[in-house]
């Protein structure tokens, strides 16, 4: 581990996480790989964690740090909801995450994307990167895989998408990041949150579109070999 940190190189974080607003709500997406060094400790993790009925958070960076932060915030939000008498807003959830991230900035290594729906502001996405800056965005990307998506989103993102367009965009993006980022992999999980509620979706690796230099998965070489030879020319 390099102790002499180049001030221009932030910690790289295993994972690809995305949060996107659409016309009516938000779509959160993530890959499912948790790695310890070069080994994949969990190939089917769930990085999209519930905070309340209407607010979820995408976690990246240290698994332990992100789990603890979201556990604390879930606990505080639960109490807050009881006191308030109605569902917590996305803004409050995001600010609680910010408080923990900012006040413990020297000890934590986690970048989070908070997304949800409330009756006051509708669908909202808040990014909380390393350091505890809180920034509201129409869409947010995070984790080491996000490096490969800045150009993609600059081109593909547009305001006012439908739910299906937004979800397809998220799935495509996570899939592209998985193709190039060694620290991202596995399945694509998405969570759609709107006024009607929450829907979880699951896109296994073999159901995703193939990208450059990727081949159609086969059961065995033998299947390819035993396929019938093409007919010789009939002259």
């Amino acid at each position: 581990m390099d102790l002499n940190m180049d001030l221009n190189a932030p910690h790289s974080m295993g994972t690809t996480i995305i949060g996107v607003t659409y016309n009516g709500g938000v779509v959160l997406g993530a890959d499912s790989r948790t790695s310890t060094g070069m080994y994949v400790a969990n190939r089917a993790s769930d990085k999209i964690t519930q905070l309340t009925d209407n607010v979820y958070v995408c976690r990246s960076g240290s698994a332990a740090d992100s789990q603890l932060v979201s556990d604390y915030v879930r606990y505080f939000l639960h109490q807050h909801t009881i006191q308030l008498g109605q569902p917590a807003t996305v803004k409050v959830a995001a600010n609680l995450i910010r408080l923990l991230s900012y006040n413990n900035k020297n000890m934590l290594e986690t970048g989070l994307i908070v997304g949800g729906w409330d009756k006051y502001e509708g669908g909202k996405i808040y990014g909380i990167p390393l350091g505890g800056t809180l920034i509201e965005q129409p869409f947010a990307i995070g984790g080491s895989g996000s490096s490969y998506l800045y150009g993609f989103f600059d081109q593909a993102w547009k305001e006012g998408m439908t739910k299906d367009e937004a979800e397809q965009l998220v799935v495509k993006a996570v899939s592209l990041a998985i193709a190039r980022d060694g620290a991202s992999g596995g399945v694509v999980r998405t969570v759609v949150i709107n006024s009607e509620g929450v829907t979880r979706n699951f896109y296994p690796g073999d159901k995703l579109q193939l990208w450059h230099e990727e081949l159609e998965p086969q059961n065995s070489l033998l299947d390819i070999l035993s396929s019938p030879s093409p007919e010789p020319m009939n002259i």
Binding site: M1, L3, M5, L7, N8, A9, P10, R98, Y102, K105, N106, M107, L108, E109, G127, P129, L130, G131, G132, T133, L134, I135, Q137, S147, Y150
Partner: protein, 242 residues
């Protein structure tokens, strides 16, 4: 066996309570000048994450109370925290309900104490601040750095702005600039910063504070010039050079 400590362990000198070691999400230069009716301040809307230009919609200038305008460069999360401190300060001032209100001089002094005291605890707020305002006809423009260095002047800048913008301002600033001249002068500085500062982005805002109040422009972009003949084929006479 080598004992390597990650910088976030609880053992060793880095462990004592809190000390900011390095910034994560940063804003670049802020440039400001005094003009006829008050203060003009400019800053781009970028939030850099190391060398990545990650956030492109960050407002780095905010109104403080009725009379002041604060611009910040450096760590954005620390700037957000400073805004919270100032919220409390202004609220407390308003609660007195005595017809008096904190002016730019007072806010600048508060910020100086804040930054210097944090520096003394080896836990700085990683920002360079520009505080401008006008109260009872008196214009004020000051700056505070993360180590507590503070001063006031007719024109100030942070970061790269000190090296690129100040020399321009020293040549071309004069007392009683009109609004148009002030804006053009700031834009001249911001254009140079755009050419020469790697962390600058082409999306900026200009804020104005006068006795009437504070306004901040919509985000906009500056045209840049690349049509110098020398730019077209620079290596023609010296192949392989740059």
């Amino acid at each position: 066996m080598a004992s390597k400590q990650p910088e976030n362990s609880l053992l060793g000198p880095e462990a004592d309570s809190q000390r900011t070691l390095y910034p994560n999400v940063t804003g670049t230069s802020v440039v400001a000048l005094k003009y006829k009716d008050g203060i003009l301040m400019a800053a781009d809307m970028g939030g850099s994450y190391g060398s990545t230009l990650r956030y492109k919609n960050v407002e780095r200038m905010k109104a403080i109370g009725k009379h002041s305008l604060l611009g910040a460069s450096g760590e954005i999360s620390d700037f957000q925290e400073i805004l919270r401190y100032l919220d409390d300060l202004i609220l407390y001032d308003n609660m007195w309900d005595d017809g008096n209100s904190l002016g730019p001089k007072e806010v600048h002094n508060y910020l100086t104490r804040l930054m210097y005291n944090r520096r003394n605890k080896f836990n700085p707020l990683w920002n360079s601040l520009v505080l401008g305002g006008i109260k009872n006809g008196e214009k004020y423009l000051g700056t505070v750095s993360m180590i507590g260095v503070n001063f006031e002047d007719d024109h100030v800048a942070t970061g790269f702005g000190n090296h690129l913008a100040r020399p321009i301002l020293r040549q071309e600033w004069h007392e009683n600039l009109s609004f148009e001249d002030g804006v053009r002068l700031l834009e001249k500085c911001m254009r140079v910063l755009l050419y020469r500062d790697r962390s600058a982005i082409n999306k900026l805002q200009i804020a104005k504070i006068t006795e009437e109040g504070m306004t901040i422009s919509q985000p906009y972009s500056l045209k840049t010039y690349w049509e110098f003949s020398a730019f077209e084929n620079p290596t023609q006479g010296a192949v392989g050079s740059w």
